[in-house]
């Protein structure tokens, strides 16, 4: 029973990773950039959610929607200011810029607000223990899982059934050809950043409700782990990011359950390195040969 309990914790944690990983994977798929600032968008989302719940007195769903709108806008601003001028620069230059943007958001936030942590109020979602077949599950976990599943379904719908989703897939397949076919590549890239950032913002709110403590540097580790999740599933592949996130969350919970909770953060990176060495294109990726 203990094991099942841990599995449920792992799935809740994993769904948070999956939501962040989706943004990484979409942005990487379309501009081939590891958006280091993505973890910080997640952090900003957690704070926007916190302020909209405590100051604006919103309930969970309006707060979630407001947060997603704000972080989507934030993601687009980051993309327009920092990444757009570097569209044709080297990969290393883009990566260094992404690191710079990440540090700027973290420390700019601390500079203007201070580094003190905040605690989410405990009564945002009902916290009843529901017991199913002898396993007691916190109703919060179910809410969180449901929210992330719904968001992922909406994302699948957007990517596969709408015009903008089609444009996104076209640009990620071949940006130059997409441009020739009359697709506005810049707007499509911005839309990708907006959708990815909105999901990260939602993950921030969910994280805040689940773990209650939020602080300005909280985005770094979940951000990196979500990247691991994206690589695990095969970067650029949307279902891969979902599966990778859930898998990583479960592995981490099992490691904690086995009594190595201090090693939890190392596990994600060990998984990353093993994946990169033995299966570099990820679980769902296709192997591509390098051409000269």
């Amino acid at each position: 029973m203990e094991l099942i309990q841990q599995l449920i914790n792992g799935i809740s944690l994993g769904s948070i990773y999956a939501l962040i990983a989706l943004g990484y994977t979409m942005v990487y798929g379309i501009v081939k950039l590891i958006n280091f600032a993505h973890g910080d968008v997640f952090m900003v989302g957690a704070f926007v959610g916190f302020y909209s719940i405590t100051i604006l007195d919103l309930t969970f769903f309006p707060a979630l929607l407001l947060t997603m709108a704000v972080t989507a806008l934030f993601g687009v601003i980051i993309e327009r200011i920092a990444y757009k001028p570097l569209r044709n620069a080297t990969r290393i230059a883009a990566l260094i810029t992404a690191i710079g943007v990440s540090l700027l958001i973290e420390y700019g936030f601390i500079y203007f607000r201070g580094a003190q942590p905040e605690a989410y109020p405990a009564d945002v979602l009902p916290t009843e223990k529901i017991s199913i077949l002898g396993v007691s599950i916190n109703s919060q976990s179910i809410f969180i899982l449901l929210t992330s599943v719904v968001l992922m379904i909406i994302l699948q719908f957007v990517v596969h059934k709408t015009k903008i989703g089609k444009a996104m897939r076209a640009v990620s397949f071949d940006a130059e050809a997409a441009r020739l076919m009359g697709i506005n590549v810049n707007n499509t890239i911005s839309a990708t950043f907006a959708i990815g950032s909105a999901l990260a913002g939602a993950a921030g709110v969910i994280f805040g409700i689940y773990y209650s403590k939020i602080e300005p540097l909280m985005g770094i580790i979940p951000g990196l782990k979500a990247f691991v999740a994206a690589v695990l599933g095969g970067i650029g592949i949307i279902p891969g990011a979902m599966v990778g996130g859930l898998l990583l969350g479960v592995v981490e919970s099992l490691v904690s359950a086995a009594g190595y909770s201090l090693w939890r953060d190392a596990v994600a990176f060990i998984v990353l390195i093993l994946i990169l060495i033995f299966l570099p294109s990820g679980l769902f990726g296709k192997n591509r040969r390098e051409k000269v």
Partner: protein, 324 residues
């Protein structure tokens, strides 16, 4: 003739640096510098070693590693164990620190250097974190509360290590091996096709870089009285990365100048860590957008003194080349 001329430049720079050494030693001995300035100078030296060692990996070989603080940590802990637990002299601990870090570099380099670009960056970042978490979980070295280290770093040690690092890496860059590394940076596939064993040279550069990072770690540990795993997080790696990027990827003098400049800036801003990081990050972003080649590009400081010689036939001489 050219060999003699080059040797002249070499001995000139050695003489200049020994004069610099003597002046600072005199200032320290005569107590003209208070502890704050001496500490800043030590820091500069340590940062120069770190910057130059990472310059070999990123600037010369083109392998984007952002886990350099991991090797710094390995060197720091290995040398601290040598002096504090094994009671060895400082010189032994410096060498052991370097060697252990080099071994760590070898172990990490062989698997991860098969990766390229972004993936390599993330893998090295991951390794840096694994190193930090490992030290956090070893009680022998004090876990999270850290390890007490006696203060042994002195100016002659710092200066000697900086000089050796710069000399070794400069000569390595100008050797056959260094040329091979530069060719990997320019085009790995082409270098491979020309018969260069790319994996071998990448690992060599990585190991040398980690060796000197380990030496910097020994100096760092014995300058600080206490070392903690939290000193070696990835913010430290980013600090080192910023020196190399700001100086210009591929320019050793650029890395040295950037290390000196940023050490001065961060010393003055040490009471305002947020401001420091905000400035650093803005420098990085603006730099990448407007001057991605860094302060010096791939030029060296000495090239400003050299007369422009027109040898002809090189790629930069502006003449039209006709093929066959």
């Amino acid at each position: 003739m050219t060999i003699l001329k080059r040797a002249k430049g070499f001995w000139l720079s050695i003489t200049l640096s020994i004069i610099l050494f003597a002046v600072i030693q005199f200032l320290i001995n005569g107590a003209y510098l208070n502890g704050f300035y001496i500490n800043t100078i030590f820091f500069m030296g340590i940062n120069i070693i770190l910057a130059v060692s990472l310059h070999l990996i990123i600037g010369i070989t083109g392998q984007f590693s952002i886990g350099h603080a991991g090797f710094l940590a390995v060197g720091a802990y290995a040398s601290a164990i040598m002096t504090m637990k094994m009671e060895q002299p400082f010189v032994v601990s410096i060498i052991v620190g370097g060697i252990v870090a080099a071994i760590a570099g070898l172990i990490i380099g062989i698997p991860s250097l098969r990766l390229k670009g972004d993936y390599l960056a993330i893998a090295t970042l991951g390794f840096g974190e694994i190193v930090r978490i490992t030290f956090l979980n070893i009680d022998y070295v004090g876990g999270a509360s850290g390890m007490q280290v006696s203060h042994l770093t002195t100016w002659p040690w710092v200066f000697g290590c900086v000089l050796i690092t710069i000399l070794v890496i400069r000569n390595f860059t100008n050797s056959t091996h260094g040329r091979a590394c530069i060719s990997i940076r320019e085009d790995e596939t082409a270098a491979d096709a020309m018969g260069i064993n790319t994996t071998y040279y990448k690992v060599i550069a990585f190991v040398i870089g980690s060796f000197f990072a380990g030496i910097a770690g020994s100096l760092y540990a014995h300058n600080f009285y206490i070392i903690q795993p939290s000193n070696f997080g990835f913010l430290k790696s980013f600090d080192i990365l910023i020196y190399v990027v700001l100086g210009g990827l591929g320019s050793m003098s650029g890395a040295v100048i950037a290390a000196i400049l940023l050490t001065i800036i961060s010393t003055f801003l040490q009471d305002y860590p947020e401001t420091r990081m905000v400035i650093y990050s803005i420098i990085l972003i603006v730099m990448m957008i407007y001057r991605p080649q860094g302060l010096m590009g791939t030029k060296e400081f000495t090239s400003f003194f050299k007369k422009k010689k027109d040898i002809g036939g090189g790629p930069g001489d502006g003449k039209q080349h006709t093929v066959a």
